[in-house]
């Protein structure tokens, strides 16, 4: 039980938010404010072709006419979009050719965050240990992508979005914005105009990606936002598992993170997308600071028998507004959503999923576990719909909420739309607090109250943790414990 011991040690030795440091590094910024020039500046910085700039500018025009949505159960003062910087990058000239050229401060940052950027480090240790390739995004740029060569041998393209726009324009043009249209929503539209970096993955037909791919997002600069854009395409019969992690320094100001993630699964392809989101949640006492995490994530199961699974562990952010969804277009395609959302302090989360059944025989499964503590608010909001052609569509949804303390709140808002006579939808939801009997039993066996809570919570979220890749599951388990620290007593 190394993992358990590790967890206990980690928890014991932790500050409230361990990733809250700032990296002192020379950075380059776009001028403050947002107008056509800012959009052009970003595009120029990234050395983008003309079509990309035109695409961005059109998005900007559309966004200027849109209004910030207000339907979610979150509240925050209006955001001044002119009072932020939309591009921040470490000064590294034309981008490092190898790790040796990367600013040592940056390397130290990632070391501190526990992200292996050196391939040999990943390989160190026991043979057969799981390996994963990393794309590290620092504010607006990708600083390094590892294992590119080995992946290229398998035919897999794994690079930063900026690089993909330059090197693989045909693929980017074919798929970008086809899952999340430019004007899909206010934040997606903003992202389309000013997106900086993110990952691009293309897995060719029949290829099983030889290792886990991962991206690590880090916001560092003050007064800036992060607008990453990720596009993953699994061609016919391909398989890829992708992990995403995020952290940010502790600051009194709120920073905006408005990302767009698009997944395309063609015939018989499978994409597994896992997120461990640990943005700075703001001060638990005053609610000051923290990240606004307004993210649009959507998968298009375009091909028959394709399969997409979203797994998320949401512990950070002052406000989370996020609904990873699946459009089940292909016949017999499958969508899955496994989520743990934990709010503590003054955090607000409004998260869930949409399963849109368009094709015949499509199936989906939603398991959502929400935990609220402190003075936080946690909402599950979801949609399951079957269109008239989706004969034989099936959905199973289970959302459970756990309340710890008298000042937090938990909400469940599922929408169900069945438009044909051959679909079967089942939905169940419960809201409870930790069972006193179970707590009593655990404490009787010698556990402290905090340990007992951790044990019960771990049991509560186990269904979802099991869906995470191994390395992430251990980390997620730690996070769950850390996020709930101080919620008892």
């Amino acid at each position: 039980m190394v993992a358990v011991k590790d967890t206990v040690e980690q928890v014991a030795g932790l500050e409230k938010y361990e990733h809250g440091f700032v990296t002192e590094i020379e950075q380059e910024f776009a001028p403050k404010g947002l107008d056509r020039d800012t959009v052009a500046f970003i595009s120029r910085k990234k050395d983008e072709p003309e079509w990309m700039l035109a695409w961005r500018l059109e998005a900007f025009e559309r966004w200027s006419a849109m209004e910030s949505p207000e339907w979610a159960r979150v509240s925050f003062p209006p955001i001044d979009y002119q009072d932020a910087t939309y591009y921040a990058a470490p000064k590294t000239g034309n981008g490092p050719a190898s790790l040796d050229e990367v600013d040592p401060e940056l390397l130290k940052t990632y070391e501190k965050l526990g992200i292996p950027l050196r391939e040999q480090e990943v390989l160190a240790g026991v043979t057969g240990a799981p390996r994963y390739a990393v794309d590290a995004v620092f504010d607006s740029v990708s600083v390094v992508t590892t294992f590119k060569k080995e992946l290229a041998e398998a035919g897999v393209i794994f690079c930063s979005m900026s690089e993909a726009v330059r090197e693989h324009p045909e693929l980017v043009r074919k798929y970008l914005g086809t899952v999340v249209p430019v004007t899909d929503n206010f934040f997606a539209c903003l992202n389309s105009a000013v997106f900086s970096d993110g990952s691009f993955v293309y897995v060719p037909p029949g290829v099983r990606c030889p290792m886990e791919l991962s991206t690590y997002f880090r916001i560092n600069a003050a007064g800036s936002g992060q607008f990453e854009r990720t596009l993953i395409i699994a061609d016919k019969g391909a398989y890829v598992s992708y992990l995403e992690g995020c952290t940010a320094p502790m600051r009194d100001e709120n920073q905006l993170h408005a990302a767009v993630v698009e997944l395309v699964a063609l015939e018989d392809a499978e994409i597994k997308y896992s997120t461990v989101q640990n943005w700075y949640p703001g001060d638990p006492e005053t609610g000051k600071g923290g990240i606004y995490n307004f993210v649009t994530k959507r998968a298009d199961c375009r091909g028959d028998r394709s399969r997409v699974s979203w797994t998320q562990v949401e512990t950070g952010s002052a406000i989370t507004w996020k609904y990873p969804s699946c459009v089940l277009r292909g016949r017999d395609s499958v969508g899955e959503f496994y989520s743990i959302a934990i709010t503590n302090g003054r955090q607000q989360a409004d998260t869930g999923t949409k399963m849109i059944h368009l094709g015949e025989g499509t199936r989906s499964r939603i398991i959502s576990k929400g935990i609220s503590a402190g003075r936080s608010s946690n909402t599950y909001r979801g949609l399951v719909s079957a269109h008239p052609k989706a004969k034989g569509a099936r959905n199973f949804t289970q959302c459970d909420s756990l309340l710890i303390g008298k000042t937090c709140s938990a909400h469940t808002v599922p929408y169900i739309e069945a438009r044909n006579g051959a679909c079967t939808f089942e939905h169940e939801a419960t809201t409870t607090r930790l069972s006193e009997d179970q707590l009593f039993y655990a404490q009787q066996r010698g556990l402290s109250e905090e340990e007992a809570v951790q044990l019960l919570v771990n049991g509560f979220v186990r269904d979802v943790l099991q869906e995470l890749p191994m390395e992430f599951a251990v980390e997620a388990q730690k996070l769950v414990a850390i996020s709930l620290e101080g919620s008892v007593g």
Partner: protein, 344 residues
Amino acid sequence: MNLDEAIRLRDPTRLPSRRDEDWRWTDLRGLLRTLPEPSQPLPTDAIGPGPFDGLAGEVLIVANGSGPEEIRIGEGETRTLVLRHISRGDGAHTSRLRIDVGPSARLTLLESHEGGGAGLSLLGVDLQLGADSACERLVVADMDPDAVAVVELDARLAAGAGLSQTLLTTGARRQRFETRVRHPGQGAQVRLDGVYVLRERRHADLTSSVRHEGPGGRTDQLARGMVDDQARAVFQGRIIVQEGADGTDARMAHNALILSDRAEVDARPELEIYADDVACAHGATVGALDDEVLFYMRQRGLPEGEARSLLVASFLGEVIDRVGSPEAAERMRSWLQARIGAGD
């Protein structure tokens, strides 16, 4: 958005529309481009029999919006009332009835909604339940296919009071039953049930919200229905547990059968919880009749139509089993059986 104002001012822009989140599946603005003229008075002497005839001495009639405006049930009294809402013609009208049930009183309200013509109606009941009183409201709605109707109940309970409601409806062109309950906890109990049987192009919307304001309250909700042809059913249930309403026990279930490829069921069971010592749960299912069960019944010699109607009747009948008043339950059961039919 306010239906009452829309009708009074004849202003269609005030009608609720799909842009109003709570009306997204029951759009009235998209349906009615103009508002009808006010309804003509309806003489009550030529009105035929109603579904609850003979079960109560007192029959109150609200005809095209006009009828009694206030009813009081004195402390400790036990009464059964028949309340018939009858609408004819293609006009628009509203009515609002206030019912006060005194402490420890018992009221059985047998309510029917009949006719409707091609008009628009907004019928509301304000119900005040005194301490330890009880009210069972049983509603049967058999409206014309072209009617557009919204029926509201605003109920406010005192400690120890009980409210039980069972709605049966066959829908209309667009029809909504909206029940809003303020629940004080403190031993008060609420049961909100409903059944819809919808065919052709009919629509019915069962919307409810129960706000638990004090500790120790119970709410139990069961809605079931079937949709056939191109009918559309909507279920929206919201349970709110306010801060301090500890010990609340709230359960909600909605189960729908879709019997045709062009029918639709939309559901939104919501929980909004601000207290931690609660047990709240909801379940929602949508599906077709089980083929294997049908096969089994046919194997035993039942014609398919009969097997189907038996299955539907037993599925919906479970809601009637919860009705407290036996005579009314019997009446409702045969009413429902006639609407389900013997199958085809």
